[in-house]
């Protein structure tokens, strides 16, 4: 059943999870804006999205007692390090303005994804009611 629902809701679910994760990563950057030697991080949304949409790597099993490796579950997106425009003396690579801009962008994208997901849910409810 959940598989049917997952298919009906589609891509926006994965996008929403990735956006939520990016919100967390950007919040960490801004929280550590004054921490010496902290390196700002981010995820490559495009690559992470491709990874989330791609077919899962599942091993072929020919026997009932063959196990799937733990890595066959979807991997969390890779965290990359940001390249600073102007490195600071204390080794911190957080640029608060840039982070704020990215946070705002991410928020708007999150809300856009929510809207898409919301309209899909409304459509599903409409289909279920037969209206």
């Amino acid at each position: 059943m959940s598989n049917v629902l997952d298919k009906a809701l589609g891509v926006p679910v994965a996008a929403l999870q990735l956006r939520a994760m990016r919100t967390k990563v950007l919040a960490e950057n801004m929280a550590n804006a004054d921490t010496p030697n902290f390196k700002a991080r981010d995820i490559d949304f495009k690559a992470a999205m491709r990874q989330a949409q791609g077919e899962l790597m599942v091993l072929n099993t020919t026997q009932a007692n063959h196990l799937q490796p733990p890595g066959s579950a979807p991997q969390p997106p890779e965290l990359l390090y940001r390249y600073p425009f102007s490195p600071s003396l204390d080794g911190n690579t957080v640029e608060t303005q840039a982070e704020q801009a990215k946070f705002a962008e991410n928020t708007v994208n999150y809300q856009a994804t929510l809207t898409i997901l919301g309209s899909r849910i409304t459509g599903l409810i409409g289909a279920l009611r037969g209206e």
């Binding site: 967390k24 950007l26 929280a31 004054d34 608060t96 929510l114």
Partner: protein, 138 residues
């Protein structure tokens, strides 16, 4: 859900900035205090921030909050002032004023205040996003 961790992260940053603001207030309040020896003179205190990275080694999506690792006292020399009339003056007629750099403290105060505001905004935005997610489909 990653959004819930934002509250931990932004909250830790807010408490760290509060510690910094507290120390700045203490430094500014004691900027003009004098003592009878260089050792007794008030020394400016500053927090040491560090990213709490220990938890990250265990889990990939663990949050990275800020922690205040400790408070260090400034090693700058105390200001020596010759004032024999002062009740705290030593045998040579000197009093020792604290080594607080007022300009530096004001800058610290503004920086701490801006960082705090920034984290409040992050928290507010994340709260809004969470509430919107909860209202999904209604």
């Amino acid at each position: 859900m990653s959004l819930f961790k934002v509250f931990d992260v932004a909250g830790s940053a807010m408490s760290a900035q509060t510690v910094r603001l507290n120390l700045t207030a203490s430094n500014l309040a004691n900027a003009e205090t004098v003592a009878s020896s260089a050792e007794e003179a008030y020394k400016a205190r500053h927090p040491v921030f560090a990213a709490a990275l220990k938890a990250v080694q265990n889990a990939n999506d663990a949050p990275v909050p800020v922690q205040v690792q400790g408070v260090v006292e400034s090693q700058a020399p105390a200001h020596v002032m010759y004032n024999p009339a002062h009740p705290l003056a030593d045998a040579n007629g000197n009093v020792y004023r604290s080594n607080v750099n007022t300009v530096e403290e004001m800058v610290n105060m503004i920086s701490a205040s801006r960082s705090y505001q920034n984290n409040v905004e992050v928290m507010n935005t994340s709260k809004e996003l969470l509430l919107q997610t909860l209202r999904l489909g209604s």
